[in-house]
């Protein structure tokens, strides 16, 4: 039981940054934009999250600014892929490279070269009264940091937004068939800009949560591939926010199990344990997830003078 509770708690914690980033990506993907630069966007979020949290003394303000940083980067990304209609994958790769360099440079310019990592006030665990006392799930589910609750709330919220609001409908239409949307009088570009900005906020905030929630400091390249995993999570979760949650948890669980097995002194070489989440994903994908259908216009630039 304790093991289960532990696994669940670790799972949720490790899954949270991936989940938040993936939910952000979901916004973009739904409108037909693929952002492989998620990794870099998150990295910007980690840095500016710490920067502003230090400045203000509040992790929440840090998180907010991490999101806003994401949006600034998102604006730049949107300009290149929406206005200039550039290839989204190369742009994303460029973004990753820039992010790696820029955050390290800024880190050194601002915080100097020291062995004390730039740290900041981090999030505290906020147990929810009563609920956190439920056996097994109580401690893991209701004894977490604020942003984790928010992330979990976002899951149904985004689903609701996509399915039940006018804006959500527009985003889906633009991602599926931009020309239909265009002839229906929807400004495809604006919708994509909007989705990228909203999504980038979440991606940036995901970075912020990594540096302020999971940890409370910035260190170079600390995202460590979680941005790529978030991309996989979208596909794995079949472009549906509940699916995304489930997929993020699978990854988190892979991590949790792997850590647990090492602590328990498993004799399996640790590299195999590290591979576990990835192998699990491939198996799951081949076994029961099957063909996932992306939004039809995914990754394709749109021009409205074609008919």
């Amino acid at each position: 039981m304790e093991l289960l509770s532990y696994l669940l708690a670790t799972d949720l914690r490790m899954a949270a940054p991936i989940l938040i980033a993936a939910l952000g990506l979901l916004f973009m993907e739904k409108s037909g934009v693929v952002n492989i630069g998620c990794e870099g966007m998150m990295l910007f979020g980690t840095f500016f999250g710490v920067f502003f949290a230090r400045l203000s003394g509040s992790p929440w303000i840090g998180l907010l600014f991490a999101g806003m940083t994401g949006m600034v980067i998102g604006l730049f990304f949107a300009f290149i892929v929406v206005t200039l209609r550039a290839n989204q994958i190369v742009t994303g790769i460029a973004l990753n490279i820039i992010a790696q360099g820029a955050t390290s440079t800024l880190n050194r310019l601002i915080f100097g070269v020291s062995s004390q990592a730039a740290n900041a006030p981090g999030f505290e665990v906020v147990p929810i009264p009563l609920l956190s006392k439920i056996p097994v799930i109580g401690d893991s589910l209701f004894n977490q940091m604020g942003p984790i609750y928010l992330a979990l709330l976002l899951v149904p919220l985004i689903r609701w937004f996509m399915m039940k609001t006018t804006m959500g409908l527009k985003i889906r239409a633009v991602g599926e068939h931009p020309h239909s949307a265009d002839t229906a009088g929807i400004n495809v570009r604006s919708v994509r800009y909007g989705s990228i900005l909203a999504g980038s906020f979440l991606v940036g905030a995901a970075g912020g949560f990594l540096s302020l929630g999971i940890l409370s400091l910035f260190s170079e390249n600390m995202v460590s591939g979680r941005g790529y995993i978030a991309l996989a999570v979208i596909i794995f979760g079949k472009w549906n926010s509940w699916g995304v949650l489930a997929a993020a948890l699978v990854f988190g669980l892979g991590d949790a199990v792997q850590i647990k097995m090492q602590t328990a002194g498993s004799s399996i070489p640790y590299q195999f344990l590290m591979m576990l989440p990835y192998i699990l994903t491939i198996l799951a994908l081949s076994g029961f997830v099957g063909k996932a259908e992306s939004p039809a216009a995914s990754g394709k630039p749109f021009r409205n003078d074609e008919l």
Binding site: T166, L169, A184, G185, I186, A296, N304, D305, L307
Partner: protein
């Protein structure tokens, strides 16, 4: 009706694309409550003119006057807000969304961030009813028939308050029954003072439905005439600038041996619903065997089974006595099958590749097209050039991507590819869909030549008139079953129409 109220005027519209003058100083006007038909060959400039009206293109020159006031449409949005409702040649619906969602897209209802899909669905259903249409708002558009999709398009336009409805080649994909339904809807609309612009290549329809007719040729307006006593030939002449013959001149059929034989062919979908049920027929040498039916009644599946793209669950399909079931598409092609698919762009061509590359798609792997896995491009070029010329595919070079060819030329390319090598069996579907009269005439002639040369032709179409004048025998399909096989001389179009709707002769 002597005092007409003009609702729309397009004055001196010129649209220049790089290298092409698509519209050349066109004057066009539309009156309240009228159907104004726009007639013209492929590439005459009809869609472009309407693109300008709907805000998709901006004219190089000229102006639009709407109800007396000059307007400027910078986007589709502007046009929609000014009451222009456009139903595009290729529908602009989002397949994965429901009917209601599609209709609600882009409706301007400020201060309503929530969809309230149920309320809207009710409104949509009620609204559609007032125009005599039934819609299921919850269905996904992808699962609708083309006719239904078109209705959704029309409702979508009207629901958004369109006063002027533009229908770009609306009948190309409809059954006779659906066409009649569309026409009665158009009449209902014009009675209520809506104005309709109706685009078509089909002269009969134009004569049937419109009040006035404008004919475009090569970007220029040839004439705008009242639809009183104009003859078909006259219009056709205006359209193509020469005389056109409408009767398919056909030598009597002298069928030879059986080439294609289907026996008890059945096919089920994943859920076990029948797509094809006990299909039996034979097609002989030198015979054109037509298959009529409303789209989606098993014709696609029939063609797929014959071409090997799908495997039937029961029965047998033989080509010249050899069983086809279980064979790969390539093996079947090698048995002498020529295939003109229903959607030339989706299944026939590779638009981004060039003409020669498209031309060899069936033969590229065998001598003399390639030797030991290496394609001999010099041969391919020569071979393609010869046949392109023979089949009159108009292009500047065989190295241009097929996407730059007009629809008619794309179809000719497919004909050239499929027919240059004397096939034993030609299986064609919608071979003339979307083509202008000149091109249709051409396609028919080529197929007749094949017939004369002894090829067995399976010709699937939704165009009843075409089938009646063109085929030697006609099978009518309904829900995956053959309702009967008839000779065109012995039945009327109406009888076939009834069979298409499920009644047995």
């Amino acid at each position: 009706m002597d005092t007409y109220e003009t609702v729309l005027e397009m004055r001196g519209i010129t649209k220049v694309f790089p290298g092409v003058v698509a519209n050349d100083a066109i004057n066009f006007d539309l009156r309240k409550g009228e159907v104004h038909a726009l007639l013209g060959e492929n590439g005459a400039g009809k869609s472009t003119l309407m693109g300008i009206l709907s805000g998709v293109y901006q004219p190089t020159e000229g102006s639009i006057v709407l109800e007396g006031a000059p307007v400027r449409f910078d986007s589709a949005r502007d046009a929609i807000h000014n009451g222009i409702g456009m139903v595009y040649q290729h529908f602009m619906l989002v397949p994965k969304l429901t009917v209601a969602e599609n209709i609600m897209l882009g409706i301007k209802r400020p201060k309503e961030p929530l969809l309230q899909i149920d309320k809207a669905s009710e409104q949509i259903v009620a609204f559609a009813r007032t125009y005599g249409m039934d819609l299921d708002p919850e269905q996904k558009v992808a699962s609708l028939t083309v006719g239904q999709q078109q209705r959704v398009e029309i409702v979508k336009a009207l629901f958004r308050g369109a006063k002027i409805l533009v229908l770009d080649e609306p009948t190309a994909v409809l059954t006779p029954k659906e066409i009649q339904e569309l026409f009665s809807m158009i009449k209902m609309l014009t009675d209520q003072n809506f104005s309709v612009i109706f685009i078509s290549h089909k002269i009969d329809e134009v004569i049937e439905i419109s009040n006035r007719i404008s004919v475009l040729r090569r970007g220029k307006l040839e004439a705008t005439i009242n639809n009183e006593g104009v003859s078909k030939e006259e219009l056709a002449g205006l359209m193509v600038g020469r005389d056109v013959s409408f009767c398919v001149e056909k030598t009597p059929c002298c069928p030879g041996d059986s080439v294609l034989a289907l026996e008890g062919v059945g096919l089920k979908d994943r859920e076990g619903r029948p797509l094809l049920k006990d299909v039996n027929f034979e097609v002989h040498e030198g015979e054109i065997f037509g298959v009529a039916g409303v789209d989606g009644n098993g014709q696609d599946e029939l063609l797929e089974v014959i071409t090997g793209l799908r495997s039937a669950s029961e029965g047998s399909v033989c080509i010249v006595g050899q069983e086809v079931l279980g064979k790969s598409p390539r093996q079947i092609l090698e048995m002498g099958l020529a295939h003109i698919p229903a959607d030339r762009q989706a299944r026939g061509l590779v638009l981004s590749m060039d003409i020669k590359e498209n031309f060899i798609i069936n033969d590229y792997y065998r001598s003399p097209h390639s030797k030991r896995d290496i394609i001999s491009w010099p041969f391919v070029r020569k071979h393609t050039k010869e046949n392109i010329e023979r089949f009159d595919v108009r292009t500047s070079s065989i190295d241009t991507p097929v996407s730059t060819l007009s629809g008619g030329n794309q179809q000719k390319l497919i004909l050239a590819r499929e027919l240059h090598g004397k096939p034993v069996l030609l299986a064609a579907m919608h071979a003339t869909r979307g083509l202008d009269v000149g091109a249709i005439e051409y396609v028919h002639q080529r197929i007749l030549e094949q017939r004369a040369a002894g090829t067995a032709v399976l010709y699937i179409s939704t165009e009843l008139e075409e089938l009646m004048s063109f085929s030697d025998r006609i099978a009518v399909m309904f829900r995956g079953e053959i309702m009967g096989i008839v000779r065109p001389e012995e039945v009327t179009i109406d009888q076939i129409g009834l069979m298409m709707a499920g009644s047995i002769t």
